[in-house]
Symmetry: C3
Subunit: 310 residues, 3 copies
């Protein structure tokens, strides 16, 4: 879990993923020689901004894992505006930096003066922070025999699973995307490149979902039948059949809300089939996201099997 | 109206349109030899998923009719989540099937425990239904001298009108789309294929709209000047002029809400001109949608004229 | 400011930009011979609807300025529905025309019968107006030594700045877009054409933003670090560095709401870098929008510098 801890500590809120991208490029350069087969590394800022693609063999399916995280942007007068949809509780530790140096401050949450139902976010710190600075949760990485807990398991755990998948992958594409937490914006061009270059139109969304009354921690990786969007049923059923036949622990999710990089696939002018497949977490979008190790293991096993069979 | 009844009875909620697609393929195979001219049938799951295109002559205009309907997905603990935006009244009859067999159950609607303004949807049935199963309204097709009434006239009546239009069509494309009721997702690639292959960038949205204080049942097919989106005025005015000159009964609609497959055309990277043209219905998105036969007749007549002149 | 006044007076609500387009075509034809270099004028209704592109030299960056304005569409029974998001106060003067002639009427605002929080918009006029007619604010253009005030400075001032920029531009594209106030719809195809024809993927959004507690009238043109969307930070920082080095008065904006033509760039399948750069106004989306002349001057100066250096 050392790699996962490192990933969780790297700041990369939506729009500022470059730090994560550089880390991954280094990681792949260093480790891919020992993988089953080294991938083609596609990275070109002019064409893919801060995204990164790993292409293995003759790909039939693409795995999308987003690099970015939720966070906060400093506004004026000590106010903060959210990046994506963070849970906000007074006292959360936030970190960042501006021209004056390192920042380690505390989140404040107060009702708006004119509307008790709206909250105003702010920070407590020894000085004013330069407007436009980004803040992310301070990482407190915790591990037990059965769980990992940290901010940003969504989606550093998805990135981690994709990197572990890469170790043995024969055929497939791993696409590391940007801006997922804040409305998307990179999957459209990644998807177009992948389709036009490789003819691939099958996708798996390698991301973290929610523990709910129907999805239990420790009961296996989730195959999502729907969230706010509905994937084509025929594709999802193929995935369920593969999971069942392989005897890999898994559970199905049925939600009416929530979304993922799949939104950009569904809206694209390419006939993507897609399915969200990922471990569930509790304490979603807080500094205390927690995932059962059993679900991480089944997530990786399921991805390995799916990439062989789809 | 036998064909319309059959169409209304086929289950095809968003994401599971394949049953409808297979029916249409059979129907076209069987009936197109007797049409004015047989179309080119474009259907290829790898490129168009469950969509279907009929191409006639040298097309200048494309007609989009969506195949899918609203419905419900079974969640956990006897809860339902909506597919699209169904009206929900306790007691509506729902049908479907899961691994244990046929389902005929009843919709329940209750206030949420924690928020009286939110409704929780559920079902009453003799057994639990497998999570992820889809349910649709049970079809009770009713016909009088002047009206038809059923669930899913939106948009099986649009599909019906498109099939009747096909009987005499010389030049044009009929595109049967998916996912319209649940945010879209197929029109982007259909539109791209149509534009790139045929250079067509004029569209008519063949769908059913609402009876309102300004749109009366029996007063003719609706030409929509706007809903939540605003089409280019110049194109809409051409359509109005054709309708007037042909002496076909019609009325104009002006709304600030609502949408259609046109959303995906408006957002696309192709300069589509589009206009919604369709009969109005009352009891929208219930099992009791009702349309005046006079408006069906004027809808078909208007499409025939528009496809000749646009 | 004579040109700006003319632009503010021309009616061009979203979907009906053609009047503005014709004016610009005439203006460019008349004035471009005296510009530093005449641009290639790209205008073809079949490919670009009512949009217009001016291409100078070897472009590296595209400037997007939207032509359309907010307004109202006449519904039934003397009701109005908004085009875009106008501020609505009873008594605002509205103008338009229908088949019966010129219209000069007054906006009415009343609580909905069934919901005190919803407003019903209407008009007072000596006769009924034909449903579907568009109304826009009556233009009362006011100028002082330090300010200009009128309806539709958003975005006729952006259009004006783009035309003044054109006078000295060596390399770059100016794209006049449609539908920005009502959800967009032209930038996707403009962006695609620009990228595929010229390889350009850097954008500046030439539009008007808001005076807020952090953005003051008269303190210089705004460089927006974010609104509801977050641009790639690396690009925005390049723009800030150019502004600082050139010593041009400017201020930064950090918001969690609001949007612009950038939405369509962010969602596109092209890796656009974009940044909103424009003067701030007070009384946003009213007939009394007001902008400091100093901010107009710094907006133009900043665009000139950015187009040289980006």
């Amino acid at each position: 879990m050392h790699l996962l801890k490192t990933l969780c500590q790297l700041p990369a809120p939506s729009g500022e993923e470059a730090t994560m991208t550089r880390f991954l490029l280094d990681y792949v350069r260093q480790h891919s020689p020992s993988w089953h087969q080294p991938p083609l590394v596609v990275h070109d800022e002019a064409r893919f901004q801060d995204c990164l693609l790993l292409v293995f063999g003759q790909p039939r399916t693409a795995v999308f894992a987003h690099l970015d995280s939720i966070g906060f942007t400093v506004r004026y007068g000590r106010e903060l505006v959210p990046i994506g949809g963070p849970e906000c509780a007074a006292g959360y530790k936030l970190v960042g930096q501006d021209a004056q140096g390192e920042i380690a401050c505390t989140l404040t949450v107060e009702p708006a003066a004119d509307d008790a139902e709206t909250e105003v976010l702010g920070y407590e710190f020894s000085r004013d922070i330069e407007p436009g600075s980004s803040l992310t949760f301070a990482c407190d990485f915790r591990e037990t025999e059965t769980t990992v807990q940290s901010c940003y398991l969504d989606n550093r755990l998805g990135v981690w699973a994709a990197l572990r998948l890469a170790e043995t992958l024969e055929h497939g594409i791993i696409a590391f995307s940007c801006w997922e937490e804040h409305g998307g914006g990179s999957v459209p061009y990644l998807a177009r490149f992948i389709y036009e270059t490789y003819g691939v139109r099958q996708a798996l969304i390698c991301d973290i979902t929610w523990v709910t009354e129907g999805v239990k921690a420790g009961h296996g990786c989730v195959i999502s039948l729907r969230d706010s969007l509905i994937p084509r049923r025929a594709y999802v059923e193929r995935i369920r059949a593969i999971a069942r036949a392989a005897g890999i622990a898994h559970q199905v999710e049925v939600e009416g809300i929530g979304g993922s990089d799949a939104k950009d696939l569904q809206r694209s002018d390419i006939p993507w089939d897609w399915c969200f497949v990922g471990a569930p977490e509790d304490n979603v979008h807080t500094p205390d996201e927690i995932v059962a190790k059993a679900d991480i293991a089944s997530m990786l096993a399921l991805y390995q099997e799916l990439m062989r069979q789809l």
